[in-house]
Symmetry: C2
Subunit: 208 residues, 2 copies
């Protein structure tokens, strides 16, 4: 039996943050498919696991944790990898994880969903255009941050990198082109070069 | 001279989280007006303080911190108030702060801005309607959480309460009516009953 179980689905960038951390840390883990697209996360059974109706959820030694940022923080301690090294570094890691939740992953996740997983006639075009404008501001902050730096929050790769990068590996269009953001592009290649890296669609189960 | 300086502005719910924490903890603090509405946060001078171009920023003993969640975490340690009491409680507090950044404050802040601080002819009506739908889902999660509980993340009031509540005290319309959410309404009254509580427009400086 696996030490860690991750309730997740392939399309979820939030899940991918935790899956990538588990995989690159060499954890003994297994995914449990959470069928978001068919509404399974809003069913009473899942709400007992996570009242926020979201993936991922991590199960470890009888504990259930949700929110990717909490899971990453927990795993960096329990696995002893990709962790901040000092109190200052811990705050810097948390700062970028919060920024990611507020300005990057939340808005990329939403925009990608609207552009790719809704029937064309139901796509709210004004919302999509508006969100793409906000995302451009987020890419600007991240690209500027990575100017002359290898990693987002420390001198080494940390859980903050896994948080900020996750949605940017997905192939569906959401208004992000690596060619426009050279520092982000180089950093995505740097993470993908870590031994054991896998694409989200290879690392997590999907509907097919 | 004050021990703590908080770069903030009255309309900013993110700033209010930190201001409320400082005030209710009895800290010796002073606000520094950050003129967001006139674009001051995008100027090079402010970007050196916070490359994320956001308020609040806390200054304390030569350290500058940004992201309200990081500031709240720092203050709960340095002031020894409204802090989680165990590792499990710390994770629960972080879980709700992350949820707030992802699903509540970020979306309330945006919706309120679009509905109240843009000229009427520039308001993107489809975006406003869409965001209000998402906010209804967020209020549902929070109201359900507060069913039979006094506080969001622990048996006592913590920084997670200050994070989640902040935007809900503002008077401008953004699609939230206390009458629809009885558990949230009772909890907002509970926080406002803490000795020293002040409304955001009284606690922080504005343009007038």
């Amino acid at each position: 039996m696996a030490d860690y179980k991750l309730h997740c689905f392939a399309e979820s960038g939030h899940s991918y943050k935790a899956a990538l951390m588990l995989e690159l840390s060499g954890a003994n883990w297994e995914p449990v498919f959470a069928d978001f697209m068919n509404g399974a996360l809003r069913q009473p059974e899942y709400l007992e696991t996570n009242e926020m109706a979201e993936a991922p959820v991590l199960e470890h030694k009888g504990t259930k944790l949700s929110q990717s940022g909490v899971i990453l923080d927990y795993l960096s301690t329990s696995l002893g990898k990709f962790a901040p090294g000092s109190a200052d570094e811990r705050r810097e890691v948390l700062r970028w994880i919060l920024w990611d939740n507020h300005k990057m992953s939340s808005q990329v996740g939403l925009t990608r969903f609207l552009m790719n997983f809704l029937p064309e006639e139901k796509r709210p075009e004004q919302v999509i255009g508006f969100m793409q404008g906000r995302l451009k501001a987020a890419y600007t902050v991240l690209d500027r941050r990575l100017e002359g730096r290898d990693w987002v929050a420390a001198e080494h790769c940390t859980i903050a990198d896994f948080s900020c990068c996750s949605y940017l590996y997905y192939p569906e269009p959401f208004g992000f082109d690596r060619a426009d953001w050279p520092n982000i592009a180089a950093w995505l290649d740097r993470i993908a070069a870590i031994d054991g890296w896998q694409h989200p669609y290879d690392l997590m189960p999907g509907r097919t």
